[in-house]
Amino acid sequence: MRNTYIIAKREFVAYFTTPVAYVFLVIFLAMTGSFAFFLGGFFSRGQADLVAFFSYHPWLYLALIPAISMRLWAEERNSGTIELLMTLPISTTEAVFGKFMAAWAFTAIALALTFPMWVTVNVLGNPDNGVIITSYMGSLFMAGAFLAIGACLSAATKSQVIAFILAATACFLFTMSGLDLVLNFFRGWAPDVLVDTIASFSFLTHFQAVTNGVIDLRDAIFFLSLIAFWLFANVIVVDMKKSA
């Protein structure tokens, strides 16, 4: 635990020693806002809720989360510091978890900074704040799942660009897997069980359930188990490079 915390702290501070953190925060806030107001019709809906705000989160994460996760391991590998990190008296799991927590905490801050949306909707009307809180939680969990995918793929390469593209592609597939675009590809030949399984992995489906105010433990478990799976894969990828 102690080691995980120390690593997470170092990683977290590292985000802010380069312009990456500030560029990310500004763009994230600008885009969540403008998507909600212009594409989502925040005002014209005439409803005191944040559905217009949350429904674009999966799409924003698709492009922005890989930008946070890409440096986690690829940069260490590229600069050789991975040799330093992995010869410190820590386990691979501690390193993987620490890095992930740092990135997740950073996303949590980005998400928390969207609080003016919440203030606005409360000033304008009487929203169901319970739904808003679960939506925030859902969004954070989804971001965690995206990050875990990105972190694992970042460990597979030296190049941050490749890490970004791999992560964006994987996240895209997970987001879209509930839509016909992806499912039709399988429907022709795959058994229904497989099609249903693929569909059940859709981030969109799970996230929409959360933002509609349906608190289902299964959605939380879905995202948490995805995080666990990808972090586990991350440990394996890092260890594999050791014996390569």
Binding site: N3, I6, I7, R10, V13, A14, T17, T18, S79, G80, T81, E83, L84, M86, T87, L88, P89, I90, S91, K242, S243, A244
Partner: protein, 310 residues
């Protein structure tokens, strides 16, 4: 337990390429072992396996009594490792970086501060303590790498090219540091520089193509250079043929490469040679005894057959 580092048939291959091929080695406390060898010989790979960064394909590395593959964390607690090129986090300062390493090494509060201060003073980093590492000169970066390896005063130090890229003063300083620490540690350094081995190492091994080819004290190693203790004479004017004829009775004679007026005599000693020169009144300008060089030992021991004699 007398051997702090014990390698048994340690091997590592990457695909079909065998980087380290069955190395046996034991390093007791108090020894400074120099790894010598051409680039790509397997020095760094061996060090990475000792430090637990790479998993051996076969064989075993035991550090402070712990098997590196089975108890990596125990080994890493007792070992300080500076990887090749001394990588460190460029966006941190030496201060924050050493603070991070000290924390991971389990130090807190006053003890942590004392260790950092002490190490910073030892490697002379105080003037750049609050400067970003990526803006530092190569010498300072190298010292940051050394500092992180020494901060927990480990029993075992593995330093991959600790003086590479340093100026002569800095090299001297780092060698002094290593000598100072040598007494109660087992230290492995890799280097290309023979004078460094002579200066700090109590033992040297030569590695090429993943195999251990020579093992001994630096002095014993130098004697393997055929030119070691050869007598070289510079001939005045154009009497070279005469000198050559006379000296060839005393041992093997050859013209020094690139020097038309110098002759190297192997298998004799300077006393006899100077006596002969005086007796025969040979036109000699200068006479000196050659010392073995790393270049020659390298070529002698590590070059593929055919090239060595060319």
């Amino acid at each position: 337990m007398s051997q702090l580092i014990l390698l048994e048939q340690l091997s590592k291959s990457f695909g079909a390429f065998s980087a380290v091929d069955g190395i046996d080695l034991a390093v007791p406390k108090g020894e400074v072992l120099g790894f010598l060898g051409p680039n790509g010989a397997g020095k760094s790979t061996t060090m990475k396996m000792i430090a637990g960064f790479l998993e051996p394909t076969s064989g075993r590395a035991t550090v402070a009594g712990f098997d590196v593959s089975k108890s990596p964390v125990e080994v890493k607690c007792r070992l300080g490792y500076m990887p090749e090129g001394a990588p460190s986090y460029g966006d941190m300062t030496p201060g924050s970086f050493l603070n991070f390493v000290a924390q991971i090494r389990g130090f807190n509060g006053a003890e942590k501060k004392r260790r950092i201060d002490e190490t910073v003073e030892k490697v002379r980093l105080s003037e750049v303590f609050h400067q970003q590492i990526e803006t530092l000169s190569k010498g300072f970066k190298r010292r940051v790498g050394l500092a992180q390896a020494m901060i927990h005063d480990p029993e075992i130090l593995v330093l991959d090219e600790p003086t590479d890229g340093l100026d002569p003063n800095q090299k001297h300083h780092v060698r002094g540091l290593i000598e100072e620490m040598a007494k109660d540690k087992a230290i492995i350094i890799s280097t290309h520089i023979l004078e460094e081995v002579e200066a700090v190492c109590s033992r040297a091994v030569i590695i090429a193509n993943g195999k251990l080819l020579a093992d001994g004290t630096p002095a014993a190693l130098i004697e393997r250079d055929p030119h070691h203790n050869a007598v070289v004479v510079s001939v005045q004017g154009d009497g070279i043929d005469k000198v050559r004829e006379v000296l060839s009775t005393m041992g093997a004679v050859e013209v020094v490469a690139g020097r038309a007026n110098q002759i190297r005599l192997i298998g004799s000693n300077s006393k006899d040679v100077s006596q002969v020169i005086r007796e025969k009144e040979l036109p000699i300008e200068e006479i000196y005894v050659e010392h073995g060089t790393l270049d020659n030992i390298f070529r002698q021991i590590t070059a593929p057959k055919g090239i060595a004699n060319a």
